[in-house]
């Protein structure tokens, strides 16, 4: 694990990199310095359009661009994309299935000091209800870069979720990424931890904690929440008989819910969810908040033990 990089940094860098290969256009709503689209802006100012603090207009403008064959990346904080502009995304982008890419940064509680109003723990839930929407939540900078390229190549709306906090790089440069294909990070026999975003790192640490207690945990990186990789989930349920999900998102409507939906219909086994427990966030350093909201490895390990205990 080398240097720590925030996935929003990787997002901005990827836009600038792929902007030289693909004819993309980038929109932002006065947050280019924070979403890191400014990296693209500096390189391709003629293809960057600031929309000012008017997100609803921005997403509808993106729809218009896409309706005429342009590939727009529309960026703002997750709260203002999936929250404020849910309806623009649903009606002007989702319903006509337009080729708009949404780069939503500052997702989850690791926004940190800005506190609850800016900590979006609901975006996966709202975006997941839109038919045809792809949702990608990268676990590190390598995956974030590959997600951007995959989004460009995919025809249709894509919601990408990026974080503010610098996190370790988990993958090598030859890592292969495919939309909708979960990644089996490690094998295990007693329980499977299915994690997404920065929780993948915590899941890998939790696996080691569990090993010390004699529990063998598999870890899956579920970078795509929609469409969810049903096969890898069903296989996990069958081979380990218990699942723990881990996400920096509300336990309502996100990865945990998506996994429960698959497991309950196809192969019922205990599924316990680690996530923000139906509560608003609060101000504080991101690292502290992960602990306060129960999102660190020890919490995942505890849930894993509880899941194992529930096995028949």
């Amino acid at each position: 694990m080398a240097d720590k990089i925030a996935t929003r940094e990787a997002y901005g860098n990827a836009l600038a990199e792929f902007g030289g290969i693909y004819d993309i256009v980038v929109l932002d709503a006065d947050l280019a310095a924070a979403t890191k689209t400014e990296v693209f802006k500096k390189k391709y100012p003629e293809r960057f359009f600031d929309c000012g603090i008017a997100e609803n207009n921005m997403f509808s403008v993106a729809a218009g661009l896409a309706a005429t064959g342009v590939i727009p990346f529309a960026s703002t904080f997750a709260m203002f994309a999936a929250g404020r502009s849910f309806e623009q995304i649903r009606n002007s982008i989702g319903y006509p299935h337009l080729n708009v890419k949404i780069g939503a940064t500052h997702a989850g509680i690791t926004v940190g000091e800005d506190g609850a109003t800016h900590q979006c723990n609901e975006d996966i839930a709202t975006m997941r209800t839109i038919p045809g929407m792809i949702i990608i939540n990268p676990a590190d900078a390598v995956e974030a870069r590959l997600a951007v390229e995959a989004a460009i190549k995919h025809s249709g709306p894509v919601y990408m979720r990026f974080g503010r906090l610098a996190i370790p790089v988990l993958f090598d440069s030859d890592y292969k990424f495919e939309i909708g294909k979960g990644v089996q990070m490690t094998e295990g026999t007693d329980v499977t931890i299915i994690a997404t975003g920065l929780e993948v790192e915590q899941a890998l640490i939790a696996k080691e904690l569990l090993k010390a207690d004699g529990i063998s945990a598999a870890v899956i990186n579920m970078h795509t929440i929609k469409p969810i990789d049903e096969a890898i989930i069903i296989n996990a349920a069958k081979t380990t008989g218990a699942i723990v999900t881990a996400e920096e998102h509300s336990i309502i409507g996100g990865l945990g819910s998506a996994v429960c939906e698959v497991v309950s219909e196809a192969c019922p086994v205990p599924v316990l969810r680690v996530g923000v427990n139906d509560t608003f966030g609060k101000s504080g350093p991101a690292k502290d908040l992960l602990e306060v909201f129960g999102l660190t490895a020890p919490h995942i390990a505890e849930k894993a033990k509880a899941a194992v205990a529930l096995k028949k």
Partner: protein, 278 residues
Amino acid sequence: MEKERNKQLKYIANDVRVGIIDAVYSAKSGHPGGSLSSADIFTYLYFEKMNIDPKNPDWEARDRFVLSKGHTTPGYYSALAHRGYFPVEDLKTFRHTDSYLQGHPDMKGIPGVDMSSGSLGQGVSVAAGIALSAKIRNKSYRIYALMGDGESQEGQIWEAAMFASHYKLDNLCLFLDLNGLQIDGKITDVMNPTPHDTKFEAFGWNVITVSAHDFEQLDNAAKAAETCKGKPTVIICNSVKGKDVSFMENQASWHGAAPNDAQYETAIADLKKVRAEI
């Protein structure tokens, strides 16, 4: 505009209005009031102004149209049908379960529809996005949009107004159907959005005010919009809600209601009378 052409357009607009009544009557739902007030604007755009090819609805170089007041599909579909995008008889399937003519515009399933819409406030932004796209790609087609007056109560309209002016989208021409009524009553009683002219001027737009029911005025305004450089244009169209159907004129209650059998007969008779007087 030639007198004869003006007369032709009046006949077409009358046909479009009959289509509106047919569609809403067969659907037993829909929005006749605002469709009738916009009927001449639809007719002008689709039969006179826009560079389009009904045989090739996806022609890349065509002018684009976004119906921001998406509920007035009866007027929009009737104009498209009469222009040849799909059979006029299909208007009688409007809003039916097995029909492609959805209650609000659906670009995926309806020939000639350039953008899905219906949730008020978003269409002007979408039109601005299309206009920006044309600028980026050096395309010469023009972008037309139609919004309602009640719709100007949506904050996003003014976000779009700021955006289109900021990026100097002079290829965008917005029609505002000012019929003065919305579901709950007069726009000035419900939530007064007037004056529209000085508001748009303050946002940096070229503003022209016309009668929505005068093709000569619509034509002069749309031509003036083409020659205005560096600014988007809004054409504020003073209209009569329910125009040409006696019992619907200036009645907010006909915003979103369908005529019964007797009312249908009266409406068709009214439109025949109007036709005879052209």
